[in-house]
Symmetry: C2
Subunit: 221 residues, 2 copies
């Protein structure tokens, strides 16, 4: 069975070490901070306090015999680089490493990390994607069959009057309010012309509000 | 267009703030550490130094007007909780928050975080999964057509002689070495009986080594 080593028990490294231990595999963990070693000892037997940039300390801990080592040192870039080099030096065949920035990761790849992990960057990318996919068009359920849509005025409605018949005839939705220069208007008349930067609120049944959403996104792509 | 706020510019928060800025959306960022604010100012205009547990400071910064706020304070659990409460207090409709542990995340959900993110835990889970999926069975390419497989002796081969004809007749692979009690043997004879904990090495063509791998994994699931 393969043997593993986890170096650096920060928030990421601690979860990796604990996760491996829960899988029942052989894992040696190391950190220069005694407090981290004390905390991980509840889950892992082979937990050693050492400086992972020290080749002799790594060898004496038996880390040279593992199949896979994971270096979980992010902020201390110098330690992260020296540790990957030390592991390469003592012959660990597969090295994974955490990096905070792309450039840090590129350096680690060049010096021998088979795989670089970017926990914070990956999670940030995911949540940013979730946050921006609905910034221009939002729907609110009014009932099982009716919805309200709140949308940034698209270019194809700039210059259109809010009471224009096109909303009903082309889209089957009815404008009920709009925000112009920071002020919401609910009393609508023919002279209310939609402008860039305005927010429009319309009401309609599910099918037509969803259809409008698709058209809106397609035209804006 | 929606407005966003990012509170806490640690490694995760910094990437979220930068990512949102790159999407061209309105984002206000805040951190109690002036150094972080200085660094993010290269990417974000509205960057304010403040204590996010201070409701008045948040309001004065205009954070009460945003649609979505992301709290990126992990290690300082107290600040993370007080910040989510403060944002709820000033009426931010949607709050996302980072947490390091499940229990921290559960508290945040209870007090108003619509969504909790676990960057380190998620990344750790992913890499642990990658690391353990091949611990018992590993293949090495010998040539374009031939492979070697190194595997922990499965229960269905315990008690079998290493020179048994079953390897050739049932699997079309040939044992070439095995490790017993830490010692590798390449001279094989009939009395070499495979035991629990042994590692077996076999040679065969691609198709049969792959077929063995599938059977091995299926029988052990
Ligand atoms: N040279 C070293 N030898 C051993 N352990 C080290 C060394 N340098 C750093 N560490 C340990 O690695 C751990 C993580 O380090 P660091 O805080 O730099 O990484 P991080 O990626 O920012 O952490 P996190 O995963 O919590 O975000 C710490 O517990 C630290 O003690
Ligand atoms: N009360 C507070 N008000 C404003 N900013 C705060 C507050 N508490 C913490 N911060 C900031 O939040 C950031 C992240 O905090 P912390 O280091 O606790 O989180 P972390 O999740 O461990 O970070 P990382 O994402 O780097 O792993 C830091 O820059 C810190 O200055």
């Amino acid at each position: 069975m393969k043997q593993f080593a986890v170096i650096g028990l920060g928030k990421f490294g601690f979860h990796v070490a604990k996760g491996l231990a829960q899988q029942g595999v052989h894992v040696i963990v190391a950190d220069k901070n005694e407090e981290q070693i004390r905390e991980i000892s509840e889950y892992v037997q082979d937990a050693i306090t050492l400086d992972s940039t020290d080749i002799r300390a790594l060898s004496e801990a038996g880390i040279g015999q593992v199949d896979v080592a994971v270096v979980c040192i992010g902020e201390n870039i110098e330690s992260s680089i020296l540790t990957v080099m030390a592991l390469k030096e003592i012959g660990v065949p597969t090295i994974f490493a955490k990096a905070i920035t792309r450039i840090h990761g590129q350096i680690l790849s060049k010096i021998g990390a088979a795989r670089v992990v970017y926990p914070e960057m990956e999670a940030a990318k995911k949540i940013v994607k979730t946050m921006v996919k609905n910034i221009h068009y939002e729907t609110i359920d009014l009932s099982i069959t009716m919805k309200i849509a709140k949308l940034d005025v698209p270019y194809f409605w700039v210059g259109v009057s809010i009471l224009s018949p096109l909303f009903e005839s082309n889209y089957c939705v009815k404008p009920i309010a709009y925000k112009h220069q920071g002020v919401w208007q609910t009393t609508l008349d023919n002279e209310d012309i939609l402008e860039v930067g305005d927010i429009l609120v319309v009401i309609g049944d599910n099918a037509h509000i969803e259809a409008l959403s698709k058209q809106y996104k397609n035209k804006l792509e």
